[in-house]
C-alpha cells in the first residue's frame, strides 16, 4: 500500500525549520493537501545542528528588516504554536577588537538604529563586564550589543512548527526521500517521485533542502549555485547561569552561548574547510575552540565538554539566501542557501514563501532582490556582517 497520498496541493521538500514553517503558514492560511517529505527525520539536517542564535544586527537594510520582523514573530511564536522552544531574548554581543572593525560596526549600528523599534548600543569593555562579568575583556575595545536579539532551541522550534502544521492538516512524512520531479511540456510541475517508487501528483513543489538544495534543483533542470560546507560545534555540561547574550568574536573566529538548559554551545568557522557533505567531527576543532573559549571565559576552564557534532552550511556566492519562484518552471518555489543564518530568519522567510505561493507575491517584506538571477545579472548582495 502506498504510504503517500496520490496527489497534493503542494509538496514541500525538507523537514528543517524552513520546510515545516512553510507548511505551517500555508496550512494556517487555509491551503489544503499539504505534503512534506523529509529524507531523514525532522531537524536531522542543518536546523537541528545549528547554534540557535537570533540576531538583528545586520549590515544591509533588507537583512535588518527581515530579522526584525522575524524577532517580532519569535516573540509570540511559542504561544502561537503551543510549545515552549526555549526562546530567550538574552541579547547578542558582537565583540570589537580593532579600529577597522569599530568603523564598520559604527556604520552598521547607524543603519540598525535608523529602524524604529531596533536599539543597538556600542558599549565599552567595562559595560561588557556588566553584561557578563565572566568575560575576559583583554584585547577588546568594545562591543555592539542588542538586548532584543537572543537564541532558542532550534530542534524544538523545528518540531513546534512541524506539530502545529500537522494539527492544521499538513501531512508530514519522514524517511521519505525525493528522487525525481516530473515537469510538463509547458514547463509546470507535474509530480514528485520518492525512493520507494511512489508518485505524488502536484502542481507545486517547495525546495527547502538547504545544504542538499542543488540536488533537488537539478531534478527540475536548475543549476543552483549552492555549495555545502561542514561547520562544527560543541557543547559543555550544564552549569549555573552566567551568560545571557550570544557572544560573537568575529576577529577571534569564535561564538558561544549558554542554553536555557545551562550548557555552553561554542563554535568557529574554518575558511579552509573543503566543499562537501562530510559531517564527521574533527578532534582538532574541539581543542582549538576550547583554547579560545578558556581565554575569553576563564571560568569555563573547569567545565567539561560532553559532545561535538557538525552540520552543513548551504552557501551561495554572496552568502545570502535564494527565496521565491523561478522563471522557467511554474509551480517551483524555493527558500534555500541560507549560508548559516537560516534559523533566525525562518519565521519571516517561511511566511513570505507561503504568501508567494498563495498570492503570487510577498506581502510581509520585499525579498525580490533575493531571486536566483541576481548572480548571473550582477546584483549580488554585499552584507558585511556574515559570520
Amino acid at each position: 500500500m502506498n504510504r503517500f497520498p496520490e496527489s497534493a496541493g503542494v509538496v514541500v521538500i525538507g523537514g528543517g525549520i524552513i520546510g515545516t514553517a512553510t507548511a505551517y503558514y500555508l496550512a494556517k492560511a487555509g491551503f489544503k493537501d499539504i505534503v512534506l517529505l523529509e529524507k531523514n527525520a525532522i531537524a536531522s539536517g542543518s536546523t537541528g545542528r545549528c547554534a540557535g542564535g537570533i540576531r538583528q544586527q545586520w549590515g544591509t537594510p533588507m537583512n535588518v528588516e527581515l530579522s526584525m520582523k522575524s524577532v517580532r514573530m519569535f516573540e509570540t511564536l511559542e504561544k502561537e504554536l503551543g510549545f515552549d522552544f526555549e526562546y530567550y531574548q538574552g541579547g547578542y554581543l558582537l565583540l570589537i577588537r580593532n579600529e577597522s572593525q569599530m568603523t564598520q560596526f559604527e556604520k552598521n549600528i547607524a543603519l540598525q538604529n535608523s529602524y524604529p523599534g531596533l536599539h543597538v548600543e556600542l558599549i565599552k569593555p567595562q559595560e561588557i563586564r556588566e553584561v557578563c562579568n565572566a568575560i575576559n575583556t583583554d584585547g577588546l575595545i568594545g562591543a555592539a550589543y542588542c538586548k532584543t536579539d537572543g537564541h532558542a532551541n532550534p530542534m524544538l522550534a523545528n518540531y513546534a512548527y512541524a506539530w502545529a502544521a500537522q494539527m492544521l492538516g499538513a501531512k508530514i512524512f519522514t524517511r521519505a526521500e525525493v528522487t525525481g520531479i516530473d515537469v510538463t511540456k509547458e514547463g509546470g510541475i507535474k509530480s514528485v517521485k520518492t525512493a520507494d517508487g511512489s508518485t505524488i501528483k502536484t502542481a507545486r513543489v517547495v525546495n527547502a533542502a538547504d545544504g542538499h538544495a542543488a540536488l533537488i534543483g537539478k531534478m527540475v533542470g536548475l543549476d543552483l549555485p549552492i555549495r555545502s560546507f561542514r561547520h562544527q560545534i560543541m557543547v559543555t555540561e550544564p552549569v549555573a547561569k552566567i551568560l545571557d547574550p550570544l557572544v560573537v568574536d568575529l576577529a577571534g573566529n569564535l561564538y558561544f552561548r549558554q542554553t536555557k538548559h545551562g550548557s555552553f554551545v561554542a563554535g568557529q568557522s574554518d575558511k579552509d574547510e573543503p566543499e562537501g557533505f562530510d559531517m564527521k567531527s574533527d578532534y582538532r576543532f574541539m581543542l582549538e575552540v576550547s583554547s579560545k573559549l578558556e581565554k575569553i571565559m576563564p571560568a569555563l576552564g573547569n567545565v567539561k565538554i560532553v559532545r561535538q557534532w557538525a552540520g552543513l552550511y548551504g552557501m551561495t556566492p554572496d552568502s545570502q539566501p535564494i527565496i521565491g519562484g523561478v522563471r522557467d518552471v511554474e509551480g517551483y518555489y524555493q527558500a534555500i542557501g541560507f549560508s548559516g543564518h537560516g534559523f533566525m530568519i525562518a519565521p519571516i522567510t517561511a511566511k513570505i514563501l507561503s504568501e508567494i505561493i498563495l498570492h503570487g507575491e510577498a506581502k510581509s517584506a520585499d525579498v525580490s532582490s533575493l531571486d536566483l538571477y541576481r548572480f548571473a545579472e550582477g546584483r549580488t548582495i554585499k552584507e558585511p556582517n556574515v559570520v
Binding site: S44, Y159, E237, R284, L287, G301, K304, I305, V306, Q308
Partner: protein
C-alpha cells in the same frame, strides 16, 4: 511488560537528564518517533554527561518493541560522538597549545 507500566512514572531511564520511562514512552507515542536520535532531540535523553551510555539501550528496546519488526538491529543507528568521556575545557586547551607547537 506490566512491571514497566506499574512504575513508569518513577523508573528513571536517563539519569543525566532525569527522564522517566513514562516521559520517554509518551514522546515516542505522541510523535511517532522511530529512532534514538529523534527521542534525543525532543527530550534531551542521551545528551547528558554519559552521552547515552546508560539510556540508549533501554530506549532502543522500547523503540524496537513499538515501531519496527526485527528488533534493535533493525533500528536506525545513532552517531556516537566524541569525546568518549567528558573532558575539562582547560585540558583540551592545553592539548591545543601542545599541538600548535608541533
Amino acid at each position: 511488560m506490566s512491571d514497566d507500566k506499574d512504575n513508569a512514572n518513577e523508573t528513571i531511564i536517563c539519569r543525566c537528564e532525569d527522564l522517566t520511562l513514562e516521559e520517554i514512552e509518551k514522546a515516542i507515542d505522541d510523535h511517532g518517533l522511530r529512532s534514538f536520535d529523534e527521542v534525543k532531540r525532543i527530550t534531551r535523553c542521551g545528551m547528558g554527561p554519559c552521552q547515552g551510555k546508560t539510556c540508549r539501550k533501554m530506549v532502543e528496546r522500547m523503540l524496537s518493541k513499538k515501531t519496527v519488526n526485527g528488533g534493535i538491529s533493525a533500528l536506525e543507528h545513532t552517531t556516537f560522538r566524541q569525546p568518549t568521556k567528558p573532558v575539562d575545557v582547560k585540558v583540551l586547551a592545553e592539548a591545543w597549545e601542545d599541538e600548535s607547537k608541533e
